[in-house]
């Protein structure tokens, strides 16, 4: 379907939804996020149902360290802001600033992931292997799945940045960037619940 956009007028104020393809991508992605919600809910439920099942292995209170989680949270929250700002640049047809903000997003995400890997290695050293207990398995699965989402997001956004480093903002790449930034926010939303339910509740007793 060709666009009904008047080229000479300039980039439409919602370039991500200016074409039918863009609209479809936008909606399809939201539908996907709806599904992701309930998938993550299942993993959260599994973790919460099994978190007392430490089978004599290390418990959450013994392992988790608040400062580390706090730093990770700040990194990811900030990356959510940079990707939101990138979308404002996109709407204003400011290609360069969009790219820079997206690169910052990726760097923050990569730092987050680095900390997470460090964290997991640390826990394994403290005797929390994947097979140690139901708590261990469900913890690694939930947080690891989130980490895998971060990793996928990093690869995806990096691909977009490199592919469109010189193209300017077009009606084809605007929806792609927009959807990628939605994905990134969603990862952040999930993290909000992970740091609350897994870490803070894990340390704060109950």
């Amino acid at each position: 379907m060709s666009s009904s956009v008047d080229f000479s007028k300039g980039l439409p104020s919602h370039p991500e939804k200016a074409t039918l393809e863009g609209k479809n991508k936008f909606l399809g992605f939201w539908v996907f996020l709806g599904g992701e919600t309930i998938m993550f809910a299942t993993f959260f439920g599994t973790f919460l149902g099994l978190r007392e099942g430490t089978a004599g292995g290390p418990t959450a209170e013994e392992l988790f360290s608040l400062p580390l989680v706090f730093i990770m949270t700040m990194l990811l929250l900030t990356s959510s802001l940079t990707s939101v700002l990138a979308m404002f640049s996109m709407k204003k047809n400011n290609h360069k600033s969009m790219l820079v903000l997206m690169i910052v997003t990726v760097l923050l995400g990569a730092a987050f992931l680095g900390f997470e890997i460090y964290e997991f290695v640390e826990y394994v050293h403290h005797g929390l292997g994947y097979t140690t207990s139901a708590f261990a398995s469900s913890f690694y699965t939930l947080v690891g799945l989130h980490g895998a989402h971060v990793l996928f997001g990093l690869c995806w956004i990096t691909t977009l940045i490199i592919r469109y480093s010189r193209s300017g903002i077009t009606l084809t790449n605007a929806p792609k960037f927009y959807v990628a930034s939605l994905y990134w926010h969603f990862i952040d939303v999930i993290w909000v619940f992970i740091f609350t339910v897994v870490y803070l509740l894990g340390i704060g007793g109950a």
């Binding site: 939804k17 909606l27 309930i38 919460l48 193209s167 077009t170 109950a206």
Partner: protein
């Protein structure tokens, strides 16, 4: 036409007014970000300092998480904007349908019988 789809635009079509609106929106986003950081710090402090007793801390930090959820969804992800009826419907359905599943997985495992 197809080749237009991969061509950059010389300028933005936005009017002064629209630019002003979008800048204002941008300010709101930054403010809500600051607010989210504040909520996060509050949650961490509530647990780290054990200022409030455990029985209250749990619902408190859960509430903070829910507020952040709304801020992220409705501001950062623009669910509050117009043309977001269907996205709203899907996210709300996701949350609503997740609720019984979550409750069952936490409570109805046959350990305590209700």
């Amino acid at each position: 036409m197809a080749d237009d789809l991969s061509k950059p635009f010389p300028k933005s079509s936005m009017s002064e007014e629209e630019i002003m609106k979008i800048n204002k929106e941008r300010r709101i986003q930054v403010t809500s970000f600051a607010f989210m950081i504040f909520l996060t710090i509050l949650a961490f402090v509530a647990v780290a300092t054990e200022m409030i007793e455990v029985g209250f801390a749990i619902p408190f930090i859960l509430l903070l998480a829910v507020i952040q959820f709304f801020l992220q969804m409705y501001y950062f992800m623009h669910l509050k904007d117009k043309d977001h009826g269907w996205p709203n419907a899907f996210i709300i359905s996701g949350v609503v349908l997740s609720t019984p599943a979550l409750i069952a997985l936490i409570l109805l495992l046959g350990v305590t019988k209700y």
